[in-house]
Amino acid sequence: MRHRRLLASTLVAAGLAFSAGCSAAAPASPKGDVTLTYLTFETPDLTASFWKTSIASAQAKVPGLSIKDVVSPNTDRDAYAKQLQASGQFPDLLQSITPSTFAQAGLIQPYPQSWVNANFLLPMGNAYKGKVYIPPTNSQIIPMVFFNKSLFAKAGISGTPKTWSDFMADCAKLKAAGITPIELGGGDSFAASMPLVGILSADVLGKDPNWLQERYQNKVHFTDPNVETAVAKYRTMVTDGYFEPGALSVSYADSITNFTSGKTAMYMMGSWFLGSVPKATADDFGSFMTPTDDGTLVVPFSVGGSMAISAKTPDPAKATAFAEDWSLDPANLKTLIEGDGAFPMLKGKTLDDYDVNVTQVFKDSYSYVTQDNTKVSAIGWATNDDSMPSGLNDDFYAASQALFNSNDVAGQMAKLDGEWNTATQ
């Protein structure tokens, strides 16, 4: 009898738990207010406290709205959003996802164009097929070449290289002085891709800014001679010993420590590295763009932003109001600028308007954004029409790792073409 009672109570409890689990997804609270879910992610700079404060601030300005944050288990928001979608839990708001992937599936809705035009410096900076799915609040340069001024001086280098041959000559001088010229956190595949992103963006997209669109139209290929020539430059950097031999064992986090502690002279990384420059020794660091053969300045650029809005949200008006308020809040931009090295893109504001404490190297790097120069999409990082097909970024990063150990440039490029074709079928 006792067994039966125990079993009955267990089943009842399980049933209640199951039905409670089902009803947890219901959007309306007893007061008739709406609760929306918001996919966020946490980093050492974008802490749980930052999200809590920023959500509370925007939520307070939208009456009748409650926000429940869903924290991604890692920084790969796209993958987690896909898992949530597959299990019927697609969030109402999604921070910093790649819009093209989700827009193609009709899962996210565009922002009112008039609001975007009124508030941002580059309203169409991350537009996908003519619509803006993520407010273009900030931008990154991917990659910049950061350098250590003391180590440059020790190797007898004055000034920054303007051409590729200058760059190679500086690498040779550093190596001769017993200094590892370039840091590479190749253990994390995205970090391993940085030199290749820099070279391809400068050499290929710098000459043909529509290259990625043409790749979609099958007019150009990774196996084209100009692409292979550019990739061969990266191989030369490896074979000439400008990275440490075990660079693919170095994690992204360790690569930052190695460079900021003066173990290596240069570091090719996205401008978010500016958030990691130690304040105490910041004056020792500078930055320049990946040099081209003829010295033309090419800036690999990506416009990022805040959150996307689900096309299926039960209350699009409140979701949009929350997203718009969060995106324009200078306090949120301040955190992104100081901690994540983000370059703000809000209309009518200067750095001073955000009350930020940034280094000189940040200011110098930001000047590339405000200057009139050749900006191209950072290959593999753009989130607009120039974004790669879903899944291809990982193949591109893997090719970068493979090319660290292999001379088979043609083979790796053919593989990328094959994967591009499969992904776009």
Binding site: A79, K82, G246, L248, S249, V250, S251, S390, G391
Partner: protein, 296 residues
């Protein structure tokens, strides 16, 4: 009701518990396998509501998928290598630790420790140990064994080897415990008789211990193989499948196909392949090892 009558009819409470267990097994194992089998004939995408029936297209694609071939090759090699090493080490440790004193009991606990840790934690810890300037390289250079750091995780061949070492380290805890249990069921009289007949330690091990461990070895080898064929967590944390997908196990490839490439249908087909390959290998090895037990 008499005890005999209850036994004949069966205890209703136990029957209900068994029904719940079977229900849960069906819900969480059988139904997902059937759903996955169905999805493998579709082009399902996690982002799209509608999926189209594509017949055998996914299975045809597998025949010329070089990434799948590479991941399957790595997985099979890993499973074979780690199973052999972990079981050999497990037998060795079991023989060494088959004592009753407190210190040996503590050493048994230590030997089992890796098995208790989460695969993700194991992966992260070893990632630090095997990093370019990690403890392992410091130790080897300090002892003068190597002159410059070795890229344990950054060179494809070495990374594959490193994954194998870590997986074998984890699995050895399990194989040791299984073999220890099997060792303790061997009657001491057999050893006494052997010693009377003049058998040395090696002969005792070869003719008594190794042969009498057979039932334990069957369980240990089979579970080791299955564990390695579906290995995901350690690799995800240790190498992420890199460099350049060199250590991408088939399980990792399935996850990447599903949630990076958005190809649930194809990922399901590969999952079916892995299920069949695992089942065939597990059944063949079990049958082979059971035959060895019968021969004893």
């Amino acid at each position: 009701m008499t005890t005999r009558a209850r036994r004949r009819r069966g205890d209703p409470a136990l029957g209900a518990i068994a029904a719940v267990a079977l229900g849960l097994y069906a819900l969480f194992i059988i139904v997902p396998v059937i759903m996955s089998a169905w999805k493998s004939f579709t082009d399902e995408n996690p982002l799209m509501a509608q999926a189209k029936f594509v017949g055998l297209a996914n299975y045809r694609e597998m025949t010329h998928d070089s990434t799948l071939a590479a991941s399957l090759g790595f997985t099979l090699a890993l499973a074979a290598g780690v199973t052999v090493v972990a079981n050999a080490a497990g037998i060795g440790f079991a023989v060494l630790l088959n004592k009753t004193s407190l210190s040996f009991r503590m050493m048994r606990t230590v030997a089992f420790l890796p098995q208790v840790l989460s695969g993700v934690i194991v992966g992260f810890v070893w990632r630090y140990i095997m990093a370019e300037d990690g403890i392992l390289n410091h130790l080897l250079t300090g002892l003068g064994i190597i002159s410059r750091p070795i890229s344990w995780l950054g060179t494809p061949d070495l990374a594959m080897f490193s994954v194998g070492v870590v997986a074998a380290w984890v699995l050895t805890g399990f194989t040791t415990v299984v073999h220890l249990a099997a060792l303790q069921s061997i009657p001491l009289e057999m050893y006494q008789a052997a010693r009377v007949d003049g058998a040395g330690r090696w002969q005792q091990f070869r003719h008594i211990t190794f042969r009498m461990l057979a039932p334990g070895t069957t369980i240990s080898v089979t579970i080791s193989l299955i564990t390695m064929l579906k290995l995901y967590d350690i690799i995800a944390a240790l190498t992420g499948g890199g460099p350049a997908f060199a250590t991408q196990s088939t399980a990792l490839y399935i996850i990447n196909l599903a949630f990076t490439d958005d190809r649930f249908g194809y990922a399901s087909a590969v999952a079916m392949l892995l299920l069949v390959v695992s089942a065939v290998i597990a059944l063949s090895v079990t049958s082979l090892l059971r035959r060895r037990e019968v021969d004893l």
